[in-house]
Symmetry: C2
Subunit: 304 residues, 2 copies
């Protein structure tokens, strides 16, 4: 199996799933639906829903009923909506002020700043609406309740948003005052939190027991941090052509990254260490995790 | 009973409830908690949670268990968080660009624009997290599921956010092209949707039957629209001292309002008509609604 091909196949399958949840572009407020759909369909690796689906498969092994399929698809779509809204807001002029992402104009660059703010809000709100659709298929299901609590916690001020906050405050700091602990804390919240949520929610909806869910949280933590360091590495070593965005943007913004702080070689060593630890944790799970391992290794060591 | 006094008493009681849900201002990301709490505690009538609590009381009559009290309080806090985040984002430079609200500096004016965006995001996210806390007190409760679905629907692109979108697009239109239907649509989504949600969620958690919930949705619709027209009226007739914000701000922004479109007198007539219809609908409910009626009439005819 070619892992890149398989991931691309799964991303395409997910796009089809997500399309079934997209709002119709109609009514007097249709601009917001257009902006939401534009943001969601602007590409991306669909890493979070793919990871979620994979842990779901690991524990449930097959889709037992049509309804269970609908439930996991609600949450896969919801987490991608949350990831997308965070990018839309991150790109705003008052934040990173980016005109391009994945080679395409950012949402506010196309629809204007006010609509960029509102499209992000609408995506976040719609993520929870979409997750709540799951109850229609499986009313009073304790697994859905747990999944919703994890989603809201990991996406919020105690999770992803908290990471964005520390990130922004760090940008205003003297470079020499930024500690490695501070950067790791940013990665932990800003990037790892949603990866943790993806793995945990998939496992919970698949029927995993507490111990495996806890291990997957730890795995997500290591994968998320490694993924972010790799992102910083690629910002230095990548090319515009491969990434679809200007390289060296961190440097341009005078941004302190893991790489600028410890150097390229140490950063690569850290990625290797985290990836080894993640794989060891996977070995301890009560179910087979071959594909998850391949995905994780591929993502951590990706070149774009 | 003095209605103003009673509302002020209930608002204070609610503030105490909401405080129990506020995030602690600690950790590396404490700025975001400070900005969230600043926004939530900057005052306000607490109209939505008060309306929610009242319809809850109407149907449940008393708090049967400690857990039921916790459930309704989760949702009361959640809806106020959603209302607050919408104001925080509305005040941003790319939106209405307001430096003051309720006589106090707006969130972005105190914490900066990036933090204003993130504080709004965090409040919206935390609203759903807070609503999901309800499941801890009453696991697998179908009323909570229904309440959560209504909350997410009415707050989103099909509700409040949709109204903000049409509102912003209307600001860029030639004044002579703005129709009364368009303005009513904005009021319906931007203001009425959360009022409808407040009344409906209170009733549902209190155990109301479908027919009453439907009537309350209609009542919320009329009250919300009347409330918004009254707001536009006050923008013309109010004074800086009473409102705590500059008067005539709509006029300054060349904003078309119900009042500029149909004139002060006709606007007042419309408020009276909607208020009469709302009261008639309340008469048709299967339970007593004396206090709700007083609140609604007071709010619709308020002078600040």
């Amino acid at each position: 199996m070619d892992i890149r091909e398989e991931l691309s196949k799964r991303a395409k399958q997910f796009n089809k799933v997500m399309c079934s949840f997209l709002p119709k572009e109609e009514g007097m407020q249709k601009t917001i639906y257009a902006a939401m759909n534009y943001s969601l369909l602007a590409g991306g690796k669909r890493l979070r829903p793919i990871l979620m689906e994979e842990t779901y498969r690991m524990f449930s092994s097959v889709y037992e009923t049509e309804n269970e399929r609908d439930v996991i698809e609600s949450f896969m779509s919801a987490i991608e909506m949350i990831h997308t809204y965070s990018l839309v807001h991150d790109d705003l002029p008052a934040m990173d002020n980016d005109e391009y992402r994945r080679g395409k104009k950012t949402t506010h660059a196309v629809y204007g700043e006010a609509m960029g703010i509102l499209a992000g809000d609408a995506l976040l709100n719609y993520a929870f609406e979409t997750a709540a659709f799951a109850f229609n298929k499986a009313p009073l299901n304790a697994k859905i309740v747990k999944a919703m609590q994890i989603l809201s916690r990991k996406a919020g001020a105690y999770g992803m948003i908290g990471g964005q906050v520390v990130d922004i405050e760090t940008e205003n700091m003297e470079a020499s005052c930024v500690s490695i602990e501070r950067l790791e804390y940013i990665h932990l919240l800003k990037t790892a939190a949603l990866i943790e949520a993806s793995l945990m929610i998939g496992a919970i909806l698949g029927g995993a027991l507490e111990q495996d869910v806890k291990s997957l949280e730890q795995i997500g933590r290591k994968v998320g941090i490694a993924f972010q360091i790799q992102d910083d590495i690629l910002d230095i070593t990548g090319t515009m052509e491969v990434l679809g965005k200007p390289i060296g943007s961190d440097e341009k913004n005078n941004k302190v990254t893991y790489v600028t702080l410890v150097g390229l070689e140490n950063a690569q060593k850290e990625v290797a260490k985290l990836s080894k630890e993640a794989v060891e944790l996977m070995d301890g799970l009560s179910v087979q995790s071959d594909f998850l391992r391949e995905v994780v290794l591929y993502l951590i060591h990706r070149e774009k």
